[in-house]
Symmetry: D3
Subunit: 200 residues, 6 copies
Amino acid sequence: MQDFCVALKDYSDSKSAVFVNGNFCKDPKLVKAEDFFFEGLNIAGNTDNKVGSNVTTVNVDTLPGLNTLGISLARIDFAPYGENPPHTHPRGTEILVVVEGTLFVGFVTSNPENRLFTKTLNKGDVFVFPVGLIHFQLNVGKTNAISISGLSSQNAGLITIANAVFGSNPPINPNVLTKAFQLDKNVVEELQKEFGGDNY
Amino acid sequence: MQDFCVALKDYSDSKSAVFVNGNFCKDPKLVKAEDFFFEGLNIAGNTDNKVGSNVTTVNVDTLPGLNTLGISLARIDFAPYGENPPHTHPRGTEILVVVEGTLFVGFVTSNPENRLFTKTLNKGDVFVFPVGLIHFQLNVGKTNAISISGLSSQNAGLITIANAVFGSNPPINPNVLTKAFQLDKNVVEELQKEFGGDNY
Amino acid sequence: MQDFCVALKDYSDSKSAVFVNGNFCKDPKLVKAEDFFFEGLNIAGNTDNKVGSNVTTVNVDTLPGLNTLGISLARIDFAPYGENPPHTHPRGTEILVVVEGTLFVGFVTSNPENRLFTKTLNKGDVFVFPVGLIHFQLNVGKTNAISISGLSSQNAGLITIANAVFGSNPPINPNVLTKAFQLDKNVVEELQKEFGGDNY
Amino acid sequence: MQDFCVALKDYSDSKSAVFVNGNFCKDPKLVKAEDFFFEGLNIAGNTDNKVGSNVTTVNVDTLPGLNTLGISLARIDFAPYGENPPHTHPRGTEILVVVEGTLFVGFVTSNPENRLFTKTLNKGDVFVFPVGLIHFQLNVGKTNAISISGLSSQNAGLITIANAVFGSNPPINPNVLTKAFQLDKNVVEELQKEFGGDNY
Amino acid sequence: MQDFCVALKDYSDSKSAVFVNGNFCKDPKLVKAEDFFFEGLNIAGNTDNKVGSNVTTVNVDTLPGLNTLGISLARIDFAPYGENPPHTHPRGTEILVVVEGTLFVGFVTSNPENRLFTKTLNKGDVFVFPVGLIHFQLNVGKTNAISISGLSSQNAGLITIANAVFGSNPPINPNVLTKAFQLDKNVVEELQKEFGGDNY
Amino acid sequence: MQDFCVALKDYSDSKSAVFVNGNFCKDPKLVKAEDFFFEGLNIAGNTDNKVGSNVTTVNVDTLPGLNTLGISLARIDFAPYGENPPHTHPRGTEILVVVEGTLFVGFVTSNPENRLFTKTLNKGDVFVFPVGLIHFQLNVGKTNAISISGLSSQNAGLITIANAVFGSNPPINPNVLTKAFQLDKNVVEELQKEFGGDNY
């Protein structure tokens, strides 16, 4: 343990890449202020997609100085009525503040309760999404919305439910999904085409 | 920190129940061997339900001596072609061994990869499902199947995707799900009736 | 371990207040969405003070749903040329994004190196301050500046160096500070008056 | 931190093997389902030895996908009246379920109490052995017995008391053991021959 | 999480004692410097016993301010040829410095290796005993010896092998020990009388 | 996770040094007792300096077997009226015992309280300094004093306040310090010369 362990991405052995819990530490003597720096979180993400939202993540992959330090940031842009669809972070709690616009947000607790907690958030409002729980944010205003989140991991991970379930590569056996979601096999296969894209 | 901290469930203040990270410790002098004991994991769970499977969990709620010790067990019973549908454990990795029958199992990695890893498991085969990732088990045999799992938490939590998304209480705003799953609003509302039961 | 453990602040025994790692958990059945909610981070803090800055903290003390979840947020307002003076967070790394204005920021590594890493940050720039290291932010622009930070603890703590050293209650023995800072005893005692205020 | 860090065992530098907290991570792109798989836990271990038991461990050494995930499994086979002699796991709590037969099990708390907790377990019964405490399992039936255990570490370690104390390599100075166990030096030296085997 | 959580030992409910991970936190406003203080580590422990050594422990039980802070101290006194017999700390690594005299020390690694590492230590020499491993210290000089140890837990626990195995309360079934140690039942029962004292 | 992971310092790639959380593990087969050993803590440090004290640290940098084990030791020597000036350990709590002499010690809590806790310690007295808080020790006797401390990290770090603030390399912009400490710019620049030495 040291003051920091800046991730060294470009380390390469002549024969094969080697990863150590994802990252090596850069030689402390070669570390610079730039290793703790990221720019561009003021730039709106492109929300021209099916769900009308875009997540810009500042984690150890884009800011190597975060390695071992247990925190990251994200900016989310929402088009009018855009949403950040139901998803989980397998390795982090999220605390979100609305910078612009109005968001309807919620999370669901674990089984057997499956309780839904929701709240409408305006500019300056803050909400917490506990680690591993399914949650979403929906822009309920006619204008763009922006939020900033802190996440309790240098790489909290992101599992977008619909994409993971219907858009995995290769696709999940449709029988698994037909029974799980009580859907017609036709509907499942259409969804897999929809989400799977090239994988299908 | 002590050798153990047996959960004390029946503590009650005259005015209101009080919870401390879920549990108090029982006075060590009153702790008995029974506090570390659970019986009945040899009994098959009832698989007469939509998905044809049943999970029996031995965690801190049923075995108070597990409190603070970071581990639990589960037995899963599968009817022929039954499945344990896609789900996550927000606070635990799972390692499963097949005790009887043949299971087709898999998990999906986090975005943007959404890679699916699958394997067909026979009696004595072991498989790992990393913490927080969506995974499933399907009985692909004509007979019952049984598995035993270890989980890396005294209460790993369980989020069954379809139930959390379509069966929460109260239901998630259908607009959120319509856009997220690219489904007709009709289909979403039918699913919510299907999964929500009394909540709807 | 459960999905969450909302801090219960108003628990009181008839005889004496009792604290458990700072907090009890609220009965999960009584938890509401409001327990995960905080409002007002859009409101500028009052920077009319000696250093020209103001920190608004959203941690477990103001947002009880953060309890046990390992993260918090802060908004910092800076008057023109205002600064958030050298300080440490004993229990958290900080990741800061500039929302408005231009900040000159830096941190110092531990002994014997005492290396200073600095950077000038504009709107949208992000910087990391590793846990426990002394750091500062200075508004180098003619206009107000605003930043938002994530911290890797539900209560990261704050130690403002000058206040802790010269303004503690009761004051530190001046001989300790005279030798430590190689200052005249007069200067030390003036500083103690300056920072100690009522304590002195 | 990533979804997983599959242990890379065969990494070798031309000059010398290098270990990083025991393991490197395999390049995530090369990871396969087989990395999370182990087969053969249905096969009975050979109990034809002095104590009449055999432990088959599924940990990071035999299942590389377990690396960093904090859990492992073990199968224990017992001949009639066989025992898994007093031992500790320095880095893990154990939760055991009896799959076949009848076991008498127990653990001892730390000093000065040295309290013994015991229980007779039948098929389907579960028992917990808290991390680091000395415990044992004895087959009290006339037939073979089998158990499956989860352990709260990817490599919990195993210290069999008699082997560590009397069979270390090289042997512990007999004077240390004579005084510690209040045994004749003759008895100690016989035990060291018995347990030390080739080492002696 | 706060700066500290001083253990509150004398909390008592009118009906029954309640323990929370062993301890409550004292109201921070009532905390005093004395809560972080212990006196008497200069006083030699009484080594007039079978093994000729005495351990004085400064942990959360004797110094309540250590609660949650993950460290403790111990002083060990050795009569000439006295020993601190083979033991483990289930929840802590030990780093020991010899203050007076000459000690022969060692630890044994986990199975199947059971390697013994030993060293003779003189005044000012330091040695490390990794968490959970069996270790011992023997005074090999003609004069008293003294050591000071740091342990990586506020309550590392102590399991003296001979006492836990042969002196537990109630005693372990002699059949378990006869097979485990390959000793005559007579010898086992004598040892149990020797170590069990009143318990037997 | 293994019994230990001895730090391997001399690993070097032909092109560039590579660090992994600071250290690689030495091949367990090559580990020797000497890897867990350090000598010389009986030797007084040289206190002939401005503050009249000297810290000798036994951490993972000087005792490689401590790697991953979460503990270290330090000896502090004090000339008459010497002091260990206000400092913090960013990654460790300290528990100190006075071996010789009389020390006046204290720590300051975090903002906004900034409460000072102090105590005069004689031979055999023990005191705790919680992680990350500013603390100091002053020899208030006419003779030398000696203390031994345990720290809850294999590398707790050391930030001497005056050196980090006024002696960093390069120096902190004097405007930052002028405002923070409410000092004349002249005084700040003199202090920077005093503490910065060659860096200035």
